[in-house]
């Protein structure tokens, strides 16, 4: 787990500098307090702002742009952003229509976004992401964790805001997508935080952690490595049981890599998922495969399903132009 670093304590800042330089036509980095925003914010629409610990790149800063986020607020690696960061980001992009904050269900994130919202003293709204069916409480969470389903909410509500939905409508859409989205993940290795000299998860070779969290939190159980088909069945079964999609209901299938797993294996998992879903007469209407909600270089993957209504499907298909997700 050797890393490309200068001073490990500056890893997030240096990386964001590189990111902002690379995508200077689209985004701007404010270093103190730290946030990333669209280069040309549109204060005439609802602002969509997400944030959380770093180490999950490209989430969230990679999703700043037309059709998705107006600003992202990156904390240190696996640490919540501070209220003043969140407040500064909101003040930089928001106009009269207000802000919808997208918050993953971790205690630190909830507390700091709530403080920022109190300081804003406006009519802003918040959606809580808790899509991980693996466990009901975890190291940093009371209730279910927010994981890769966050991308789906950000994409869909970002499209709604772009089409001039008002704050109440955006809050309803976001809550609706969140309620229709479930995920579960598995790790084949841990990762190492830049300022640490040890991995965050000790997994002996040949073992896996089923239901892993995106900070290396424990899952449901540790088991011997199985075939890709069997692993996908272990992940998809609880997701489907919890989501309980109707027969013929169109689904979004999202296979997410945690950072250290090659695309070849993600597509093997996708292939396994399509066969399991076909056996249950499920309709895969849209798909996404890639490492979008990561845990540094962790080897592993998650599966996310979203039950798509016709209106959510057209919002999913709406144009998006961000550094990490783009369709026209």
């Amino acid at each position: 787990m050797s890393k490309f670093l200068n001073d490990p304590r500056n890893a997030v800042t240096e990386s964001l500098r590189g990111f902002a330089l690379c995508h200077a036509a689209d985004v701007t980095l404010n270093e103190s307090p730290r946030y990333v925003r669209r280069r040309c914010p549109n204060p005439g629409k609802v602002s969509i702002i997400a944030g959380g610990g770093s180490g999950h790149e490209p989430m969230h800063a990679g999703f700043v742009g037309f059709g998705m986020l107006d600003a992202a607020v990156p904390g240190e690696v696996f640490s919540s952003p501070s209220p003043d960061q969140i407040l500064a980001a909101a003040d930089a992009v928001a106009g009269k229509p207000g802000v919808l904050f997208i918050v993953k269900n971790y205690s630190g994130d909830i507390m700091n976004f709530e403080m920022a919202m109190e300081m804003r003293a406006g009519a802003d709204r918040r959606v809580l992401i808790e899509d991980d069916v693996a466990v009901e409480t975890s190291t940093y969470s009371s209730g279910r964790r927010g994981v890769a389903g966050t991308l789906v909410v950000e994409k869909i509500v970002g499209a709604a805001a772009e089409s001039n939905a008002d704050l109440e409508q955006c809050a309803i859409v976001a809550a609706d997508v969140a309620a229709r989205t479930r995920s579960m993940g598995v790790a084949l290795s841990g990762c190492r935080v830049p300022t640490s000299d040890r991995p965050n998860l000790e997994l002996p070779p040949g073992e896996m952690e089923l239901g892993i969290g995106i900070h290396g939190e424990p899952g449901r159980r540790r088991a011997k490595l199985q075939s890709a088909d069997d692993i996908m069945l272990e992940l998809l079964t609880p997701v489907i049981e919890d989501l309980n999609p109707g027969s013929g209901e169109p689904l979004l299938l999202f296979i997410n890599g945690f950072g250290g797993t090659p695309l070849m294996e993600l597509y093997i998992l996708y292939n396994a998922a399509t066969r399991i879903l076909a056996g249950r007469s499920a309709v895969i209407a849209r798909s996404l495969v890639g490492s979008y909600v990561t845990s540094l270089e962790m080897a592993g993957a998650s599966v996310t399903l979203t039950r798509l209504s016709p209106s959510l499907l057209s919002l999913w298909d709406a144009p998006v132009r961000t550094p990490a997700l783009r369709c026209s």
Copy 2:
């Protein structure tokens, strides 16, 4: 290096099945002989076809689509595709304007593409990619290896073909971009081929291989891990010396991850590269950062520079719609 696999011998096939299902609107997989082609080929233009061993995903199949490749021919992991695969791909997509084959400089690839071209007995052309400045001969190559610069050639000549350049013009553009493109990489770990039980490169913790090949071939030297700034200087210096860009000449800067390195570190490397290039008064006109030409889950990265003429710059900017690279 645990992996998501069913039968390791079927890893490439299963992965391509998942890939083709996921991107069914855009690409089609032919399983025997194996190739991936655009769903709707355009036989009225020059066909651009690339191929080589698998394990470098998303290259090449992820680059099949409008503005880039017409077909990709994937061999087994780190093994050349057979002449009959290449022939079948060409026959499936090519029309009267002919085929430009993009071949990386590995002995097996050269031999098999040459055999396929003889069997086609047409007026097809070939461009050889040999952008890696690290070593002059290597395990599978006589002369320089073809590495991440391949993406740049595929993007630019793909745009030329889309704008109806004829075969001779495409061959000239491709040779021109190839001559203007140089790369060098570094590995912090090896990777494991699915059918093997050992990594392809034994790197003790805290060491790196400078000038690594994308199949784990030896580089210039092994050294203790250095800072990201110092590593980037070690990679960029030979690239710049070999390329010798003119003062003020616009450059494409491409930081490529090998599969196991998180985006956070790739942007730290990008940030380092921008500062080194600024110190030499170089102009970074375009940038690309991501894991596009990989070596399974190898931790590591490469830097590629291309000297962009005005016409190459506009071809780089032309629309491209492929599974892995997309801009409008």
